[in-house]
C-alpha cells in the first residue's frame, strides 16, 4: 500500500470542495469499513481520503419532524440507528433488520450514509428503506437534492451520486397505517451476505390492499422495485391467491443473477417463496399506529 493523505475538513462545503476532483484516488471516508476492504485487496488505491468525522455532530443527529417523519443524519453509525428509541418508534423495521446486518463491529463503525453510498447490492438497508418510502438528501457542488432510495442505485456497486456529492440525511416518512417486513435469505452460513432480500410494506383498508411497496435486493444487480407485483396487489383482497399472483409477477419482472450464493433460476424460485411469505407476515404483523 502506498502512502496517502488523510484530510479532515471541518465543514460540509469544505468536504465537497475536496471531493470535487478528477483524481480517482480521492474518496470520502466515514466509517471506512467498506473502503478499507477495497484498499486491502488493492481494488482502490487512495491518494487522499477525506474524513467526514470533523463535520459530524450536525450530520449525525436523529430526530422527528412535525409531520412524523424521521430524519437520520448520514453520519450516524448503524449502531446509533439500531439503538435509537426514535427510530424504534417511527420505523421499527430498521432496528429489526439491523440485528443481522453485517456484524456488531461493522455496525459500530459504519455510517448510514456510507452504507448507502457504497452501492453494494447485498446490503440490507436499501430494500428496507425503499420499502419504507425513504429518501436521501444529497449535497454536492451543484447544490442540494432529494433522491428516493429506490432511485439511488444505478448498477452493481454504482449509485446516481455525482462527483463531490455527499449524502447528508435519510428521511423516512411516518409509517402510520403501513405494515412492513424484511426477509433475507442466506444460502451458505447464517452470517453470509444474503442471496436474496425481500422487503414489503402494505397498507390494508377493510381487508383490501390499498397500497404496497415491494423491493428485492441481493438476487438482482441492484435494488429493484417490483412494480408489476405491486400492481397485482392494488385493490386485491389479502388472501393467499393474491400473494401468489404478486409472487408470479415478481419472478417475471426481477432479473436475478447467478453468483456463488446460487443460480439465477434458484433465486427466482426463492423470490417466489419469499414474496409470498413476506406478504403473509406483513399482513399478520399488522399496521403501525
Amino acid at each position: 500500500m502506498r502512502d496517502f493523505e488523510l484530510v479532515r475538513p471541518s465543514s460540509l462545503a469544505e468536504a465537497i470542495a475536496l471531493l470535487d476532483t478528477e483524481d480517482g484516488g480521492v474518496r470520502a471516508f466515514s466509517g471506512g469499513t467498506g473502503l478499507m476492504l477495497m484498499m486491502k485487496t488493492g481494488v482502490f488505491t487512495p491518494t487522499s481520503l477525506v474524513r467526514l468525522d470533523g463535520i459530524e455532530p450536525e450530520h449525525a443527529a436523529i430526530g422527528i419532524d412535525d409531520d412524523g417523519s424521521l430524519r437520520i443524519g448520514a453520519l450516524a453509525t448503524l449502531s446509533t440507528v439500531e439503538h435509537s428509541p426514535i427510530v424504534q418508534k417511527v420505523a421499527p423495521l430498521i432496528p429489526e433488520a439491523m440485528k443481522r446486518l453485517a456484524n456488531v463491529r461493522v455496525r459500530n463503525a459504519a455510517r448510514i450514509g456510507g452504507n448507502l453510498a457504497h452501492g453494494d447490492p447485498h446490503m440490507d438497508l436499501p430494500p428496507v428503506l425503499a420499502a419504507l418510502h425513504a429518501s436521501v438528501r444529497a449535497v454536492g457542488p451543484d447544490g442540494e437534492r432529494t433522491i428516493a432510495v429506490e432511485d439511488l442505485f444505478a448498477g452493481y456497486y454504482e449509485t446516481v451520486l455525482g462527483r463531490g456529492e455527499l449524502l447528508t440525511q435519510v428521511i423516512v416518512p411516518s409509517q402510520a397505517g403501513w405494515a412492513s417486513v424484511y426477509h433475507k435469505c442466506t444460502t451458505r452460513s447464517a452470517d453470509d451476505w444474503p442471496a436474496l432480500g425481500v422487503a414489503v410494506s402494505l397498507r390494508v383498508v377493510d381487508g383490501v390492499i390499498a397500497d404496497s411497496r415491494l423491493m428485492v435486493s441481493a438476487a438482482t444487480e441492484k435494488l429493484t422495485r417490483l412494480v408489476t407485483a405491486e400492481a397485482q396487489l392494488k385493490g386485491a383482497e389479502t388472501k393467499a391467491e393474491t400473494f401468489a399472483r404478486a409472487a408470479d409477477a415478481a419472478v417475471a419482472e426481477a432479473e436475478t443473477i447467478d453468483d456463488a450464493r446460487g443460480s439465477a433460476e434458484y433465486k427466482s424460485s426463492l423470490l417466489h417463496v419469499y414474496v409470498r411469505r413476506a406478504l403473509r407476515d406483513a399482513l399478520s404483523r399488522g399496521a403501525l399506529q
Binding site: R2, T187, R188, S189, A260, Y266, S269, L270
Partner: protein, 759 residues
C-alpha cells in the same frame, strides 16, 4: 455425557482446565504469529496465475527497484544454494519455489523480501512472469487417463517405512495405488440376491486455521533456527537438514502454541522457503500467509468413491467393492499415505466376507491436498454410510437394524485380516440409537416443513508405525517438567499429557510445566496428527514418568528409606546431594508393533495399534419450498477408550462435529480454471454461532483401550466421521431425495426435490 471415575491418583479422568488457559483469555499466548526478531525481513510471495505451464521468464527488475525492497528471489536463485530444492513427506516433489514448471494456480514462483511487509506486497505486484500454457487436469477421475501429466517422473521420498514400495513411475498421475483383495468378490456378486452400486463425491475444502500459516527462520553461526506454527517440528528438522545436507543437530525447530492446525500445518509447509531465504540473505526472514494464501497452500482431498455391494434379501452384505479416487492436487504432500491408511477402511465398520478395494492417489492441477481432521476418513464414511442407508431403504429394513446385522464385532477380522480389538462399534451405534429414541414415534412435520432423521458410524485406524519420545525431569525440589514435541494446537495435549505424568507420579497436574517443542531440547516425535498423540506420546510420557518414579524409588532405597514412610521427593535430593541439587530424568520411547500390508493383497494381521470409532445421529427439518435444512438435534458418540480429561474431550467432539458440519453444508472451494474464486472468509463460509445445531449432545461410550496410557486413545477426529452421511440420510428420510455430492446446499436439495416432483 458419560461420567468417568478418576484414576486412583485423581489426575486422569479429571476435567483439569487447560494449563495455558490464563494466557489464552488474556491474549498473551506466544503464537509464532506474534514473533518478531530484530533485523527481520518480511517475505511476500508472487504466485502463479496459471494452473499448468512452463516458466518462460520471470521479470523481477521493477520489483527489485522499488525503494525499501531488500531482494527478489526466484526458484533458480534457490537452486544455486540448494541444488535439489524439492521437499515433501511422501514424495520429494515440491520445489521451494517453482522450477521449470508451475503446477497449480497460487504456486509460489518468486518472493520479495523487505523490512516493511507493505513494501514487499507492493513489489510483488510489479513482478511479471510469462508461461507457456500446458493442458491442465482438475478432476481426479479424469487424471487417471488424461494426457495432461502433472509430474514428468515420480520422486518418492522413502521417508516412511510403509511407503517404501512407491516406485519411480513416469507418464502417470497416479502417485500411489493401494489394492486389497479378500475372499472372492466376483463369486459373491454373481450369487447375490441384490447388488447395489453408487457413486459419491466430496468437495475440496480448506482447514482455515485462524492463525494463518507462519514460519520464521533465523540464521546463526552454522545453525538455522526455525520458529514455526508446525504440527511436526521433528519432521521439519529432518527435512531441512536433508535439503541443506547438514546434520540434524544444526537445525533447531521451535514451536509455541498454534492458533489451530487441523492438519494444515503438518510435515513441511513454509519452513523450506524461509530456511533457504535466511541462508541466502543471512538475516531472519518471516513469512506470514494471509487467509487467502492458505487456500493455495494445503487443502482436503476431493474424492470420487464408487461403491458396490452384494446383499442378501435379509440385509446381510456378502461382498463389497470400493474404488476410491483421491484428488491430491499438484503435490503429493501426505496424500499417498491417506490413500492407503484410509483406503483400507473404505468398506466401513462391517463384517464382510469378500472385499476388494482399489484406492488411487492422483496428481491434478489443483492446490495440493493433505491431511484434514480425519485423514480421508470423513470422505469414505460419507460414501459407505450413505450407501448403507440406500440399501436399507430399498430392502425395507430399518437403517439401524441393517447396521446391526452387519456390524463388525470385537474379535472378528477386519477386511485387512487384523482382528478387531477394543473397538466399541456396537456401543457407539447403540448409544446414538438410544439417545435419538430411534424406536419411539417421530414427528415428521407438516406442510412445507418436513422432518427426518439419520445416523451414521465410522471408524479409523491409527497411522503406524510411528515413534514418540518423552522426557520427565524432576528437579531437586520435586517440581516436574515434561519435555515432548507434541504440539498443542488447541486439542489440549499439554494438559492431558501433564495429567498422565501427574497420575503416574502422584502429584497435582497443575504443578507440572510442559516445555514447548524445541528440537534442541525436546525429544523426537513423529508429528501431532491423526489423533495419534494421546496413544503414542501418552504411552511414551507414561513410560518416562514411570522411569523417573523408579529412579526415585531406587534413590530412596539407596538412602535407606523404606517405601510408604513419610518423606518428600525433595528430601531425597537433599539427602543424596547434600543440598537442593541434581535431577531425576525419566525417558520413554514408544513405538507400537505393526505389519505392513502385503503389496499384492493389501492384507496384514496387525495393521493398526488401535481403532477410533465415531458416529452421529441428526434430526433435521427441510423447507421443501427453498431446500433449506436446519439441524434440530445432533447426537455424537465416540469410543476413545478412557477419557483423560472429560471436559476437553467433549469440546473436541463438539468442535470436530461442527467443523464437519461446515464441510457438509456450506464449505466448498469454488474453482475456475484452477483458480479458487472464493479464497476468503467472505466467500468461503465456515460455521458461525447461528449454524450450530440447536441441540447438540456428545457422548463418550464406556470403553477401555488396553494398550493405551491409562486406557486412553485419540479423539480429535472421531466426531467428524458420521456427520455428512447422517445429514444426507436424514434429508432422505424427511423428503425422499438422495444427495450424492457434498456440500448439501439448499439449492442442491431444492433441485433434487424439483427433479423428484417431475418423475
Amino acid at each position: 455425557m458419560t461420567l468417568v471415575k478418576p484414576m486412583p491418583a485423581g489426575q486422569v479422568g479429571r476435567s483439569v482446565p487447560r494449563l495455558e488457559a490464563r494466557q489464552k483469555v488474556t491474549g498473551r499466548t506466544d503464537y509464532t504469529h506474534n514473533l518478531t526478531i530484530p533485523g527481520m525481513l518480511h517475505v511476500k510471495v508472487f504466485r502463479s496465475t496459471t494452473a499448468h505451464g512452463r516458466i518462460v521468464s520471470i521479470d523481477t527488475t521493477a520489483a527489485g527497484a522499488l525503494p525499501g525492497v531488500h531482494s527478489v528471489i526466484t526458484g533458480e536463485d534457490i537452486r544455486k544454494v540448494v541444488p535439489e530444492p524439492y521437499y515433501g513427506p511422501a514424495f520429494h516433489d515440491q520445489p521451494v519455489l517453482a522450477l521449470d514448471k508451475v503446477r497449480h494456480v497460487g504456486e509460489p514462483v518468486a518472493v520479495v523480501l523487505a523490512e516493511d511487509p507493505y513494501v514487499a506486497a507492493e513489489a510483488v505486484q510489479l513482478i511479471v512472469a510469462e508461461y507457456e500454457d500446458l493442458e491442465p487436469v482438475f478432476d481426479e477421475v479424469e487424471a487417471m487417463t488424461s494426457k495432461a501429466i502433472v509430474h514428468d517422473a515420480l520422486k518418492p521420498a522413502g521417508t516412511f517405512a510403509d511407503l517404501k514400495h512407491v516406485a519411480a513411475h513416469r507418464n502417470t498421475n497416479i502417485a500411489l495405488d493401494y489394492h486389497l483383495r479378500r475372499g472372492d468378490t466376483s463369486a459373491a456378486f454373481a450369487a447375490a440376491d441384490h447388488v447395489y452400486e453408487h457413486e459419491f463425491r466430496s468437495q475440496q475444502v480448506m482447514h482455515t486455521p485462524l492463525e494463518p500459516m507462519v514460519s520464521l527462520a533465523e540464521p546463526g553461526d552454522g545453525i538455522m533456527t526455525i520458529h514455526t506454527a508446525s504440527q511436526s517440528p521433528s519432521f521439519v528438522r529432518t527435512e531441512i537438514a536433508r535439503l541443506f545436507g547438514w546434520p540434524e543437530n544444526r537445525v533447531r525447530v521451535k514451536v509455541p502454541h498454534l492458533g489451530g492446525g487441523f492438519g494444515a500445518k503438518l510435515y513441511i509447509k513454509l519452513e523450506a522457503l524461509v530456511a533457504c531465504l535466511a541462508l541466502m540473505v543471512r538475516r531472519p526472514v518471516k513469512l506470514s500467509l494471509t487467509m487467502e494464501e492458505q487456500f493455495y497452500t494445503i487443502t482436503k482431498h476431493a474424492t470420487t468413491f464408487r461403491i458396490k455391494s452384494a446383499v442378501t434379501s435379509n440385509g446381510v452384505v456378502t461382498a463389497r467393492h470400493c474404488e476410491v479416487f483421491w484428488n491430491g492436487g499438484a503435490y503429493a504432500d501426505i496424500g499417498p499415505r491417506v490413500t492407503q491408511k484410509s483406503g483400507f477402511t473404505a468398506p466401513g465398520p462391517y463384517d464382510i466376507e469378500n472385499v476388494s478395494i482399489d484406492s488411487y492417489a492422483l496428481y491434478t492441477n489443483r492446490p495440493p491436498a493433505g491431511a484434514l481432521r480425519g485423514f480421508g476418513i470423513p470422505q469414505l464414511v460419507w460414501a459407505y454410510e450413505s450407501h448403507t442407508d440406500l440399501i436399507a431403504r430399498d430392502l425395507g429394513i430399518d437403517p439401524l437394524e441393517l447396521r446391526r446385522r452387519n456390524i463388525l464385532k470385537d474379535g472378528r477380522p477386519h477386511a485387512t485380516g487384523t482382528l478387531m480389538q477394543d473397538a466399541a462399534i456396537e456401543l457407539v451405534l447403540e448409544c446414538i440409537a438410544e439417545r435419538m429414541q430411534w424406536s419411539a414415534p417421530f414427528d415428521r412435520g407438516t406442510g412445507t416443513v418436513l422432518r427426518g432423521r439419520g445416523i451414521a458410524i465410522g471408524f479409523k485406524a491409527s497411522i503406524s508405525p510411528t515413534t514418540s519420545v518423552a522426557i520427565v525431569n524432576i528437579a531437586a525440589d520435586g517440581s516436574t517438567n515434561l519435555y515432548m514435541s507434541t504440539v498443542d494446537m488447541g486439542q489440549g495435549s499439554d494438559t492431558a499429557m501433564a495429567q498422565i505424568v501427574a497420575e503416574t507420579l502422584g502429584i497435582e497436574t497443575e504443578t507440572i510445566r510442559v516445555v514447548r517443542p524445541d528440537t534442541d531440547v525436546t525429544p523426537y516425535d513423529m508429528a501431532t496428527l491423526g489423533s495419534r498423540s494421546t496413544f503414542h506420546m501418552g504411552n511414551a510420557v507414561k513410560m518416562a514418568a514411570t522411569h523417573a518414579k523408579e529412579q526415585l524409588a531406587e534413590m530412596a532405597a539407596s538412602l535407606g528409606l523404606t517405601p510408604g514412610t513419610n518423606y518428600q521427593t525433595s528430601d531425597l535430593f537433599k539427602k543424596k546431594f547434600g543440598m537442593q541439587a541434581g535431577n531425576v530424568i525419566g525417558v520413554g520411547t514408544f513405538i507400537p508393533s505393526y505389519k505392513s500390508p502385503d503389496l499384492a493383497t493389501g492384507l496384514s494381521e496387525n495393521v493398526t495399534p488401535f481403532w477410533m470409532i465415531g458416529g452421529t445421529g441428526v434430526e433435521v427439518e427441510v423447507d421443501t419450498e427453498t431446500g433449506h435444512v436446519r439441524i434440530l438435534r445432533m447426537v455424537n458418540a465416540a469410543d476413545l477408550g478412557r477419557p483423560l480429561n472429560p471436559k476437553i474431550v467433549e469440546t473436541q467432539l463438539s468442535g470436530a462435529a461442527v467443523m464437519q458440519l461446515g464441510f457438509t453444508l456450506t464449505e466448498k472451494m469454488e474453482m475456475d480454471g484452477g483458480q479458487v474464486t472464493n479464497a476468503s472468509l467472505a466467500d468461503y463460509k465456515i460455521p458461525g454461532l447461528h449454524d450450530v445445531p440447536l441441540v447438540m449432545e456428545n457422548h463418550i461410550v464406556q470403553a477401555n483401550q488396553h494398550s493405551g496410557p491409562y486406557g486412553a486413545k485419540g479423539v480429535g477426529e472421531s466426531a467428524t466421521f458420521g456427520v455428512s452421511p447422517a445429514i444426507a440420510n436424514a434429508i432422505h428420510d424427511a423428503v425422499g431425495v438422495r444427495l450424492t455430492e457434498l456440500p448439501l446446499t439448499p439449492e442442491a436439495v431444492f433441485r433434487a426435490l424439483h427433479a423428484a416432483s417431475k418423475d
